[in-house]
Subunit: 367 residues, 2 copies
């Protein structure tokens, strides 16, 4: 280990690489979000898209949970659909419902019309937010877990494609599946464009300060494994290979967390596509997943988010301990199995972060 | 094999028992339903609850798909929530939305108020429909796959509990999970009552003519495996044990198909709870599931229902063949991974039944 390197010293980054850690690192998907009153205040004042598109506000929201809790990583506050907007699909967020894409992608001409502008031009506001967060993180006093790194992210290609084709959220992804079954060439063209934009966007995030990346292919679990293998895996593999070649401005490699949901039926295929860390949702046993993935692969997860919101503390503590026990001391990043539930009391999050650090400590420092 | 026995001669029942079959049997979840114009006609005329509660109509709907397609089993047209109504929970079906339970179960007094009337009294209309279907099936000329048996069913205890507690369908089952985490004694009391009613209901269906049973715990897959193990498995096991002790009036054992969804993360636990046949949804590889369940357990599934509705025939044929290949010649009941999608053209179902019988045939008859 290069003890002198700032990035290498972070507990989170060491866990991603399967290296020894003094205790298990923890961050939470949607840790910057609606369960925090200070987030709701900004959200009410500015609205979601303004928060996301104003670098100072996005940076502020990113840092809000870090001011409250000793989390082991910051995760950029952004939205997985921003690249779709950059590609020319007008995006609208209706309060109460999910995002809406006014003119969904249905025909060849819709796909051909999709632009692939460089992220530096089209998504500069995200990159500016990343730079601001990174600067603020660097200015913080050193924490026990080392400097807190910044995680960047992008939506996985199936999830982006589904939003683009369905025109918003979907329970069954019918049109998306129909497209990939009936028009595989057109599907490939769509995936090419999404992949190109995603690879460029992730590289730009790293250039702007992200030290790890997560690929959220949250909806890929709606596919039969054979459909995932044929229609998604080749493109996620390309993204994973591109990320493997990235280095931070400090010369560090950039771990990739690969998350699909539900993960159980796709586990080996998601791992085959790539990722240093495989994200696990709560509907599988983490120890079982480890057994299937083998010792060389780190895992992230996997507490039921509702358990954090609703369960009594004694049960919660037993489950956190069971996950840590199943994961073992190396190659585990503690997280929920999905995003923080908006009804979660912030003090539950405070307790969880403390509990993971307390229960994840096994003997003295191993370094 | 008792060649003389009517029930034993059925291809579907032989496959459930892991015995040799001349080709793979096939039936479809929701094979009696909205994709059939003759069903929609009756539905429009009478409404759902009248269809379900009028034995002649329920029998007619059950038999509709059998008149069109050489399916290997009939499945009773009923609703998993009928026992909840029998227990005292008023049920309403809103067109467009799902079922609504007016006064959901939230407190101890709500659970204590739940009645456990014998199915013969409270659900007599279902049993009468079963008798009518069975009589009509017995009068049919013998088919190549032997006499067509009748499958009865009930909702699994978690799924029933979730409807009762949430007051209808739910995406996250928050109140149900909160109940089982915060008030395990009350949860146990609720599960006791649901289990008692279910065991009695299934036995009554067998007495009325059902020759196999399916337990639909469709929502149990929303639970972390540890929650399923503690809060569901003990009761589903009790149901499975009760079914194992049942005999038809002809003295035949009654195979149980156990279906939870998504199945991948819970597979071993569902099998541990019981069932001669484990139902598989489409989001896992059937061959992989077989490997995990071992050769002694039959499986049912697992084509994506949207594939049947939307995919071109050449792709469909390749996927059907792949499922049959992965399953091997014994202990497989072909089915979709979930119910028939209402937009499925009936001619696709006709094609599928023919294709399974054609592709599932391996050499001459093995008996």
């Amino acid at each position: 280990m290069t003890q002198g390197s700032v990035a290498s010293g972070s507990r989170f980054l060491r866990a991603c690489r399967g290296e020894a850690v003094e205790t298990t690192p923890v961050w939470l998907m949607r840790q910057a979000g609606r369960y925090l009153p200070e987030y709701r205040e900004l959200h009410e004042k500015y609205g979601f898209l303004t928060l996301v598109k104003t670098p100072e506000l996005a940076a502020e929201v990113t840092l809000q949970p870090l001011r409250r809790f000793p989390l082991d990583a910051a995760v950029l506050f952004a939205d997985i659909l921003l690249p779709l907007e950059a590609m020319g699909l007008a995006l609208r967020y209706e309060p109460g419902s999910g995002p809406i894409i006014e003119e969904p992608v249905r025909e060849r001409r819709d796909v051909e019309r999709l632009r692939t502008p460089p992220a530096r031009e089209a998504l500069g506001y995200v990159l500016e937010a990343a730079r601001a967060v990174r600067a603020e993180l660097a200015a913080r006093p050193a924490a026990e877990g080392g400097p807190v790194p910044l995680i960047g992210f992008a939506g996985g290609p199936f999830t982006l494609a589904s939003y683009a084709v369905e025109g918003g959220g979907s329970r069954d992804h019918r049109r998306t599946k129909a497209l990939l079954w009936r028009a595989p060439d057109l599907w490939a063209l769509l995936m090419e464009r999404l992949t190109a934009v995603t690879v460029d966007y992730l590289a730009a995030q790293v250039e702007a300060g992200a030290q790890a990346l997560q690929l959220f292919d949250s909806w890929a679990g709606a596919l039969a494994p054979e459909d995932y293998r044929r229609s998604v895996l080749p493109w996620t593999r390309r993204i994973a290979e591109a990320v493997a070649g990235l280095r931070t401005p400090e010369g560090e490699p950039v771990p990739l967390i690969h998350f699909a949901m539900p993960s159980a039926g796709l586990l080996e295929l998601v791992a085959e596509a790539g990722g240093d860390v495989i994200g696990l949702d709560w509907r599988l046993d983490l120890g079982w997943a480890r057994g299937r993935l083998g010792p060389g692969r780190a895992v992230q997860g996997n507490l039921d988010p509702l358990l954090l919101a609703e369960a009594p503390r004694s049960l919660l503590e037993a489950r956190v301990a069971a996950i840590l026990e199943a994961a073992g001391p190396r190659g585990h990043v503690f997280n929920l199995g999905h995003g923080v539930d908006p009804a979660t009391p912030p003090e539950h999050v405070a307790w969880l972060v403390e509990a993971v650090h307390r229960l994840g400590r096994r003997g003295g420092p191993e370094e």
